[in-house]
Amino acid sequence: MPDTQQRTEATDATTRADPTTRTDGGPNSDLAVATDDLRLTYSDGTKAVEGVSLAIERGEFFGFLGPNGAGKTTTIKVLATLLNPTGGTVEINGYDVTDRRTAVRATVGYMAQETAIDEELTARENLDFACAAYGVPRDRRADRIDELLDLVDLADVADKPAGGFSGGMKKRLDAATALVHDPQLVFLDEPTTGLDPKARNRLWDYFRRINDAGTTVFLTTQYLEEADALCDRLAVIRDGEIVERGSPAALKRRIGGEILEVDVGSTDATGDDAPADVAVADESDPVATAAAIARADHFGSEATVETTDDGVRVTTRRASERGTDFVVALREAGVAVERFDVEEPSLDDVFLAIADGEVPDLDARDGEPADETRESGEPADETRESAESTDETRESAESSEVTV
């Protein structure tokens, strides 16, 4: 709207006129991202983000996980100054996102979910435009561009139009353009969606390098595996609210327990000398007996014990450790064990469980507080988060030197 725009222009003018101004801690803030009760409601009433609070320290590699439509992209757009929050406060590198927009923009890099490069220009020209747009001094641009082309392995094709690049090469170029000005903080919105594993690994390697060099990274992803490979800390968003946070290891430990499945039979397997009354008792309900034994003391208080048609399913972090003891205990109680299986759920299964709200009591388990779980699921911004499929076949010819 005109009013907002005028205000922004005025703010820009202020920033430009007095570049040495320091306010609200500015560059001295310890936090790269500080949000308090961030909310964003679209004009059609869709509540995309509902009270997200984040404190991300400088130098962190922070992961923001969630399914499509959870509010990841909306959140990142607010943090990157593309959307004004409709509630709460947001400071980036110490600057308020609405009042000090130009200062925020000058200190962050932003890589959108959809690859955004000018396909008519060469890789070098794309970087040159980004350098100029971010005010990199003219005499340093050539060096900076060469440095970045090397970093993303595009030096060989630097002077070819980007329209001929494969999906992975375009993504790498896009990432490089977000970094021309050495931003203190870079936002990466699902940077590897649609890439094959090889291209993905190259990007991961690149992101690690920029983080090692001191840049704070804020990454959104749908893949827990990606977050696990890269991030120091994670927050999981669902329906616009954060439902879980912690290190990848803690998250896996907390919710990534193994599943022990035991099927029990009706007759005892302890031998012919077993007392007849025990066998009869077990025959009446061996499943209940097994469940009672499982609940008793074998797996600790955090385990979940469920009964199935044929036996019990125990979800626990101690399945491998205590599984054998449990089976022995069953046999001692005269319960026949017909099948015994320990499954480790994939990380994506774990993520799906969180995303679908099948793990509602996460917070209670390890004592780390998280926001309340919400019941209703709005359509949110499904279309804004649509995945992209990318052709990566041309990549293989020039990617033999990958280091992972």
């Binding site: 320091r22 500015g26 409601t41 100054t81 593309l82 000090r100 971010y134 005010g135 440095e147 000005h181």
Partner: protein, 294 residues
């Protein structure tokens, strides 16, 4: 491998303690001006086609309408004007309108590829972003019109006012160009689709050209419609300079004398339309660049 990142602050050496601030307004304009010029050079087909279409029209219309045209000119009192000379304003307007619509097509391209958002998130003034783009488009129109006009002279068209007149001809096409650039940006912002814009180019170009004195002097039947047609003013202004006389067809102004009786009112009408449609386009672009949730 060189270090990927940290020499923080060195991009802002003059004030290491303050927030980096990007460029000056004019610096931002130049950055975007350069980008769009590079794109035009990289992909010159559309640019060259506009010149070819202009020449093609000139030759074609002269061949098809030549005899009828000469007759109509004689009837309307232009007996001493060659038809090809009379046609020059028509092809210049056609080239101007066709080229101006590329502005909206460029905008739609940026909206679709994410470059619009990428440019928005950079620490540049959004008005400078669009000013740079528009400046590049105006430059392109100037080059195209100069080429078409030069080749028209080679083909036998006569500019009575000479080289200064030729420069003035290109100059008075620009308010028409700015008007259709604004319209194409409005259409582009609303439709966000390149095919719609291509269709819109045709929708605007031919009815407006034929409802003006571009090809033959207008009859009294369409005079009212021609009065509300911005192309009429562009055609009249260009023709006044080419012939060196007052040729205004729809307004009767006598206060300025000679050519100026056409030029002053025509340019005034065009500039007024530029302000109205320019403001609408700027408002829509500003809204799209703003961070309001909608």
């Amino acid at each position: 491998m060189s270090t990927p990142g940290i020499d923080s602050g060195s991009t802002d050496e003059s004030s290491p303690a303050g927030p980096p601030t990007g460029n000056s307004f004019l610096g931002d304009v130049r950055v975007n001006f350069t980008r769009w010029n590079r794109k035009a050079i990289r992909n010159p087909t559309a640019f060259l086609l506009e010149i070819v279409i202009g020449l093609f029209s000139l030759v074609l219309f002269a061949a098809v309408f030549g005899d009828v045209g000469e007759f109509a000119l004689a009837e309307a009192g232009y007996g001493d004007v060659g038809y090809i000379t009379y046609l020059v304003p028509a092809v210049l307007m056609q080239a101007t309108i066709g080229s101006s619509f590329n502005s909206g097509i460029g905008l739609v391209g940026d909206l679709q590829t994410g470059m619009f958002e990428k440019t928005t998130v950079a620490p540049m003034s959004w008005t400078a972003v669009f000013a740079g783009k528009a400046a590049s488009e105006v430059l392109r129109i100037v080059v195209q019109l100069s080429a078409v006009l030069g080749l028209a002279v080679v083909l036998g068209a006569n500019v009575e006012t000479g080289l200064p007149g030729a420069v003035a001809v290109v100059a008075v096409c620009l308010p028409v160009g700015v008007l259709f650039m604004a319209i194409s940006n409005v259409v582009g912002m609303l439709a966000r689709d390149e095919e719609v814009l291509n269709a819109a180019t045709m929708l605007f170009m031919f009815p407006l050209l034929f409802l003006s004195p571009a090809f033959i002097p207008i009859s009294s039947d369409i005079e009212l419609l021609a009065t509300f047609n911005p192309v009429t003013y562009g055609v009249d202004a260009v023709r006044a300079i080419i012939l060196g006389e007052d040729v205004m067809t729809v307004l009767d102004v006598t206060a300025f004398g000679g050519v100026w009786n056409t030029l002053v009112p025509a340019v005034a009408v065009l500039v007024a339309l530029d302000v109205v449609f320019g403001a609408l386009a700027v408002w829509l672009l500003g809204r799209a660049s703003s961070a309001d949730a909608d």
